[in-house]
């Protein structure tokens, strides 16, 4: 069973040899493969081999286009600097007001370097890594609005000029839907929707500004025959029921959520959680025993309906041995609980 088969089978609720392993590795993968991070972000010819090497050597079941949140922001006009060995930095070009955001112009993903690169990246993954679950990515509406206005301004816009925010979010969502289409056409099995800022805005604003648009994106992914993953890191305890209601097949849960247990029963048969080990406290700084215990506990909380993952990016300071322990822990679940089953039956049990 390869990574793609394992993930799709798990999502269908059928028996698999072990739960899928989907760690988010970005700077870690670049460093491990000896690739400059500036290249990792901007050049699929640098990133694809790095991601594939990590997947092959550590037994990951997926390859992803994840690197930083600025692909769409660049296309919308944000100035982004790419340090050689660090995360890209936003250097300005923010929209000056909510009113200006409401006049945002859509972009064509093929006309901008970062978005075009992502499409090429998926084509390359499809060519060389087709046995893995290939995950493309778009920014969610709230995260993108935060990138374009800055988080503080964006926060205030929700109260000061909600109509303008809605208009801007509609443009952002339309672009995301177009970008989703291009990525699925390029060969993505799944599209991740990253809307991290939502964990900071609470359930009321989430329902007012984000939910329907995320759901539109998820519905569109499904219409194209692909899998949808919703990633909101941070403490989403108050959002998880709504995140599940978007219909996303994979709902990411970060370690700041106290437990997945109260929400496992809300999952539809096609839905699973992904998480929720603490990337720093456990995966980077913990012992192999800590890592295994955390993976087992996540599995227990989700009633077996959980992809093995950390809540967010594995930090670049994580040792190779800890990443190996993380991978090994996904296999060890088999020894304690028999065949991993993605079925609703075991999920609700």
């Amino acid at each position: 069973m390869n990574g793609r088969e394992r993930t799709l089978t798990f999502l269908q609720g059928s028996d698999v040899d072990r739960p899928p392993l989907h760690p988010i590795v970005m700077r870690w993968a670049a460093a491990y493969a000896g690739v400059r991070y500036s290249s990792f972000c901007q050049d699929y010819r640098a990133k694809c081999p790095a991601m594939l090497r990590c997947a092959e050597e550590f037994g990951f079941d997926w390859v992803t286009t994840l690197s930083d949140p600025y692909a769409e922001a660049s296309a919308f006009g944000i100035e982004v600097e790419y340090p050689e060995q660090d995360l890209p930095v936003d250097r300005g070009g923010h929209l000056p007001s909510a009113e200006a955001a409401a006049r945002l112009q859509p972009f064509d993903p093929m006309h901008h370097a970062r978005t075009r690169n992502r499409i090429r990246e998926i084509e390359e993954f499809r060519r060389v890594a087709g046995t893995y679950f290939i995950v493309g990515w778009v920014e969610g509406p709230i995260a993108e609005y935060g990138d374009l206005r800055g988080l503080t301004n964006a926060s205030m816009d929700f109260f000061d000029d909600p109509d303008a925010v809605h208009e801007a979010l509609d443009v952002i969502t339309g672009c995301a839907i177009d970008f989703i289409t291009r990525q699925v056409e390029a060969g993505a099995d799944c599209i991740g929707i990253g809307d991290a800022f939502c964990s900071q805005i609470g359930p009321d604003l989430y329902r007012t500004f984000a939910f329907e648009r995320e759901k539109r994106m998820v519905d569109h992914v499904h219409k194209l025959g692909a899998i949808a993953k919703l990633h909101i890191c941070g403490n989403t305890n108050a959002l998880i029921p709504d995140m599940i209601r978007t219909g996303a097949d994979i709902v990411d849960v970060d370690h700041l959520v106290p437990s997945m247990e109260p929400y496992a029963g809300l999952l539809a048969p096609h839905q699973v959680f992904s998480g929720k080990c603490d990337p720093v406290g456990v995966i980077q700084n913990g012992t192999s025993q800590d890592i295994e215990a955390c993976v087992r506990e996540s599995w227990r909380q989700a009633g077996g309906r959980c992809i093995v993952s950390a809540g967010c990016e594995i930090p670049p300071g994580t040792s190779t041995s800890n990443l190996e322990a993380f991978a090994a822990s996904s296999r060890s679940i088999l020894h304690s609980s028999g065949a991993a089953r993605g079925s609703a039956e075991s999920g609700r049990g």
Binding site: D90, T152, F159, A196, C233, G281, E313
Partner: protein, 182 residues
Amino acid sequence: MSKNEALFEAITKGKRKDVADIVQKLIDDKGDVVDLLNETMIPAMRFVGDKFSRNEIYVPEMLIAARAMQTGLDMIEPLLADSGHKARAKVCIGTDLGVDCSVEKYEAAVNDGAQVVCLSALLTTTMPYMKNVVEKLKDRGVKIVIGGAPITEEYAQEIGADGYGDDANDAVNAVEKCLAMA
């Protein structure tokens, strides 16, 4: 002077125009601005901070309340200075400096007299930079308080920070502890 209920509500709801109107009227009436600050404005922000700590409100609500508070503070600040009221300390808050702040920005704040520097990271991707800031400032006699979604008290201890705040409200408590230690 007792709590000004209307101003308290205007701050906690983030209504900066109401805050401006109420404070202006008090100034026109020659009211006691020190009392207003201590009995109404600071308690209002404490109230907001407590609600934030209990996850009853979130960052946007907190920010508009802080903005409303600042509107009032800007109006009474000259009067506070005239009355001999002195700030307890100078604190540099990283989020007020911007995002992805370089260590040089914090050094500039310390050069400008900051006694405490507060750092926040929203993502695991940015938190390792906090260690650079701590190391760079450790010999400057400044206290450093850190917090943010992925940060834990253990991480604060590990990188040598002087304090940890679980949220903005808790950070205020951590700063007060640091100032008592200084």
